[in-house]
């Protein structure tokens, strides 16, 4: 696509940080991100009406967006190869923190997910997702074509598996499950043998009954609920039923902005976080829901386009990993709100209220920008002249 041939740096001598990358920000992606962020703030404004406490979620979310833009632009200036080179360190630190959470973490709502440093609390599992993406990108870059060998192939699962098991122990099924598709998608794009992947997926399916026995009771109930939400409408089925009523009652065009009743009358709990899509679908109907889904698809396809256009394989891995991460959240979250999947705490990027996940989202977007920023620097065909690994010289 790009035609200009600019040799900026020789092999092994890349600039880790370049402010000029900001000029190369992809406008399509930026436009979609801004659109989604604005929709998110509008929807949160509506959700805010039914919360009697003084918190203005939509204002805080707007602040998160502004801060997130800064983060994204900052990351955009980095050479993505530099970011990937940090992968092993970040990954190790994250795994260490996950272990720490299990040992000394604070318990909230029955899960041990939070670490506190003085006044600050954070969930290491949130950042582990990106750490795994970076680590896998680093790993695939390092081994190159050796990924076709079974041993190297399986090692990728070890990388994804260790944090997944640690997170699963917290227990946080939703986040743990995120790591699976990321690993599989990145392996696939990294060029692993298809039958290897197929074998692993089939083994995974065969092992599902064993995993079932490892689930907590409430998790099993949630899975059973999705088969028949009406079985316990006031208990485990409540969320699913109310969410489906909320979405369904929106109809084709919705009840109108700020005219939603389900969420306003507090029938749907967590409607400003995990079930924000229901509110959107209630007030804006099928049209609104599909529009947002379409915007997300534009983001994903743009990200995958970056993966194709990346001047090095590292960028492709990274882009695919980041897109898979976001897409998993979007699809699973929406599937939950429309009663296709069991209730698991997975937020919807840009729309769900919450600072940590907003940071993850904007970091992902920043990484995509960063990958794209290097696109025009070298002709794609000239990839060989361009080292894909950052060397610490």
């Amino acid at each position: 696509m790009s035609t200009s041939v600019m040799v900026e740096q020789e092999a092994g001598h890349i600039r880790p940080f370049n402010l000029r990358n900001i000029k190369r920000t992809d406008l399509w992606l930026a436009a979609c991100v801004v659109a989604l962020a604005v929709i998110g703030i509008l929807v949160l404004y509506s959700a805010n009406r039914s919360v009697s406490s003084g918190t203005n979620f939509y204002l805080k979310q707007a602040a998160f967006f502004v801060g997130g833009c800064g983060v994204a632009l900052f990351l955009c200036c980095f050479d993505h190869r530099f970011l990937v080179s940090l992968g092993p360190v970040v990954f190790t630190v994250c795994c260490g923190l996950l272990v720490a959470v299990l040992v000394v973490g604070a318990e909230v709502k029955g899960g041990q997910r939070w670490l506190h440093f003085g006044p600050f609390g954070f969930q290491p599992s949130e950042y582990t997702k990106l750490a795994v993406v970076l680590m896998l990108a680093w790993y695939f870059t390092a081994i190159g074509r050796k990924i076709e060998r079974l041993g190297y192939f399986l090692l990728a699962f070890v990388i994804g598996g260790i944090p997944a098991i640690l997170i699963f122990k917290e227990p946080d099924l939703g986040t743990a499950a995120t790591l699976g598709p990321i690993t599989v998608a990145m392996l696939y794009v990294a060029g692993c043998k298809r039958w290897h992947l197929l074998a692993v997926v089939l083994t995974g399916l065969a092992a599902a009954p064993i995993a079932w026995t490892q689930l907590e009771d409430y998790q099993r109930t949630r899975v059973m609920t999705i088969m028949d939400p009406g079985a316990d409408p006031q208990g485990s089925g409540y969320h699913t039923i109310q969410s489906m009523i909320t979405v369904g009652s929106g109809g084709l065009r919705g009840k109108g902005y700020l005219d939603g009743t389900q969420t306003y009358l507090s029938y749907l709990p967590e409607h400003h976080t995990d079930f924000i899509f229901s509110l959107l679908a209630e007030e804006f109907g099928f049209v609104g829901g599909v529009t947002v889904l379409g915007l997300f698809m534009l983001v994903f396809l743009r990200g995958l386009q970056f993966a194709r256009n990346s001047v090095d394989m590292t960028g492709s891995y990274l882009a695919v990993g980041v897109v898979t991460l976001l897409a998993f959240h979007v699809f699973v979250n929406i599937a939950i709100t429309i009663g296709m999947m069991p209730v698991t705490g997975l937020p919807l990027p840009f729309l769900s209220y919450g600072g940590s996940f907003y940071l993850t989202t904007m970091t992902s977007i920043g990484i995509l920008f960063s990958i794209n920023a290097r696109r025009g620097m070298f002709d794609r065909l000239d990839r060989s002249r361009n080292p894909s690994r950052y060397r610490w010289v």
Partner: protein, 653 residues
């Protein structure tokens, strides 16, 4: 061109495209599901969401009023509803420090500010600042007025008005009117359509019998409904719910979605009871256990139906005072029992009226028939003696004097001549030993013994010994003076007297003005009636010149009062005699005192029956009460009608 480097490979683009395809596929699946939910099933879910959104807020209906009469003036309120002002506080409406308001309330009303502050803190802790916190239930009007006066200093304080049952005459006629109690879960299951948990339901008397009428039809108001929170309804001074600015306990706006359906007050009940006479009757029985029944002899309308001791139904209305309620429910002697139709007594000498009617009608005796009374009576020359109450004997006596002076021996003879079957037949025909048909719950039958009854009772116990269950002439002798197994209610005796007063018609006593008046064809011929009336008139007459009858204490100058006394034994004579002088007999084993009276020449003609438990002699314990009650009845009516003719002196009571 070094594109063959190991770190890339030919299939990369295709693989990325596959990933894109998978994502697009997922998006399509989700879109289809959304279409299915929102467009195909949109209407269905819209309905469910509307169901979620609206709730029916119930508006309680006031209970119907019970009207009676007072001294002949109709439509006097016996039970109605008064507005109760409950003082409430809503923290969200208080723009100053609630502590200040609490302190001011403490000064004005003397409430406990600390406790109120705790409740306010509790409501705020669960984020329900709009919850109406009850400061005080049922504040007096004066306190309510003071609160209004200081409204500027008491932001957030207001009154909510609700209807509460009021019994205008307190304990007077308490047992007849009945009381209310909270509906229990079993009853609720049977009638979910009109009742909710916590509703009051009639538990006895008129309140219970006419529950269907008195209980109103609830109103409805469709309001937005929240998943949490309780609607906080405020009322205007008349207790009607206010529609504007409705909130629930969390402060959510409750928009009224539809015109409200006003509650329909329960239907009214009009009873024939004369509360003035009733109060007089209860006053007369004060301190005694007993009953008075007074009927309009021509229609059967109940004018007074008193029972002592009684209770005040108001205590069942108040929320507090549970101990008081339990005390009333468990008190001895039983306060809940209406002794005029829920308790039975041996009729004693009053039964002689039945015997006289039966004998005259059956032609067993006539006015010329006489018997000699030596003071005692034997069936066989050497058998056991039955005494006359007058040990010295009445001498030769006919039916008129036998009634007037209550000669036992005369009626022993008459009873034996008649036989038990005739006596039983006539007693039933005159309304004894069976329910009178009074329109009140739980009336009892009483009992008039018969051959069949004795056999049914005793044969199972002694199947091989016929002498145990055979009816003996001695049983007939006992029955002849209303002793033995015979038992009746005072109301039945009043019905018997009505027949004598009204020309032989058996009436059905009714309390409800709308109940059908039923009156049988004459069961007694005028000739017989004339004889009976003569005897009963003589009973009340005061000598000299005429000899004094047993009921002379009920004699009223210028009024034709007929009457009959009775002293019904309830333990064996021997048991009483061990105490020697009758004044020494303990109260619990003294005879019951009866007096039954009728008024023949005044309008309306009345029949009344008085029973004083263990009153000893009808002549001394019951007859004077009859005189007072009859006096009161006619004089109060006359006074009231004079008052009416002049116009009321003061505003209605």
């Amino acid at each position: 061109m070094d594109s063959e480097r190991k770190d890339t490979y030919a299939g990369l683009d295709r693989r990325i495209q596959s990933v894109a395809l998978v994502l697009a596929g997922a998006a399509v699946v989700l879109s289809l599901r959304l279409w299915d939910l929102q467009v195909n099933h949109g209407a269905e879910y819209r309905g469910k969401s509307d169901q979620n959104r609206l709730r029916i807020q119930r508006l309680e209906a006031p209970r119907g009023t019970i009207y009676g009469q007072r001294d002949g003036i109709a439509d006097v309120v016996l039970a109605d509803n008064r507005p109760v002002h409950d003082l409430m506080f809503v923290p969200a409406d208080c723009d100053i420090d609630p502590r200040v308001v609490c302190d001011r309330l403490e000064r004005i009303l003397g409430i406990d500010a600390g406790r109120l502050m705790e409740e306010i803190a509790a409501a705020e802790a669960v984020r329900q600042p709009h919850k109406q916190i009850l400061i005080r239930r049922d504040v007096p009007i004066s306190a309510s007025a003071r609160i209004d006066e200081y409204a500027y200093a008491l932001p957030g304080v207001f009154t909510v008005v609700r209807p509460m049952r009021r019994y205008a005459y307190g304990r007077t006629a308490g047992q007849l009117i009945g009381y209310l109690g909270e509906i229990n879960p079993q009853e609720l299951q049977k009638r979910t359509d009109r009742y909710r948990m916590g509703d009051l339901i009639g538990r006895s008397g008129i309140e219970r019998l006419y529950e269907e009428t008195l209980h109103g039809t609830e109103g409805k108001m469709l309001v937005t409904r929240y998943a949490v929170g309780v609607p906080q309804i405020r009322t205007d001074p008349y207790g009607r719910p206010r529609v504007e600015n409705l909130v629930d306990s969390y402060g959510h706006d409750l928009r009224v979605e539809e015109a409200i359906l006003r509650p329909i007050s329960g239907g009214d009940i009009y009873v024939t009871l004369d509360i003035g006479v009733q109060a007089k009757a209860e006053e007369l029985l004060e301190g005694e256990e007993g009953a008075i029944a007074m009927l309009n002899a021509d229609t059967g309308a109940v004018l007074a139906l008193a029972s002592s001791p009684g209770y005040d139904p108001s205590i069942f209305v108040a929320r507090s005072g549970n101990n008081e309620r339990l005390k009333v429910l468990r008190d001895k002697p039983n306060r809940m029992l209406h002794r005029a139709y829920q308790e039975r007594y041996a009729p004693g000498s009053i039964f002689k009226i039945v015997l006289a009617i039966a004998a005259l009608e059956e032609g067993v005796i006539d006015t010329s028939t006489t018997h000699y009374c030596p003071g005692k009576f034997r069936i066989t020359p050497n058998g056991r003696p039955w005494h006359c109450w007058k040990r010295s004997g009445h001498g030769t006596i006919g039916v008129v004097n036998a009634l007037a002076f209550s000669c036992d021996v005369f009626f022993y003879n008459v009873g034996l001549k008649l036989g038990v079957d005739k006596i039983h037949e006539w007693a039933l025909r005159l309304g004894l030993g069976d329910v009178t048909g009074l329109d009140m719950p739980l009336e009892i039958t009483g009992l008039i013994p018969s051959r069949q009854w004795k056999e049914d009772l005793l044969r199972p116990k002694h199947p091989k010994e016929p002498w145990e269950y055979r009816w003996y002439p001695g049983d007939t002798v006992n029955l002849s003076i209303g002793q033995g197994a015979a038992s009746v209610t005072p109301l039945q005796i009043a019905v018997l007297m009505s027949a004598i007063v009204n020309g032989g018609h058996r009436v059905r006593p009714v309390l409800n003005r709308e109940s059908a008046v039923s009156r049988s064809d004459a069961v007694v011929t005028p000739d017989t009636l004339a004889i009976i009336r003569e005897g009963l008139l003589k009973c009340v007459e005061k000598g000299p010149p005429a000899p004094t009858g047993t009921g002379h204490a009920a004699y009223i100058e210028g009024t034709m009062v007929i009457g009959k006394t009775a002293s019904a034994q309830n333990v064996s004579l021997a048991h009483q005699e061990q105490y020697g002088d009758e004044e020494n007999i303990p109260k619990g084993i003294r005879d019951h005192a009866w007096f039954v009276a009728g008024v023949l020449d005044r309008e309306p003609r009345i029949a009344l029956c008085i029973l004083v438990e263990h009153g000893h002699h009808g002549s001394s314990a019951a007859a004077p009460l009859a005189k007072e009650l009859i006096d009161y009845f006619y004089s109060s009516r006359a006074a009231a009608s004079v008052k009416l003719a002049r116009g009321p002196e003061s505003p209605a009571q």
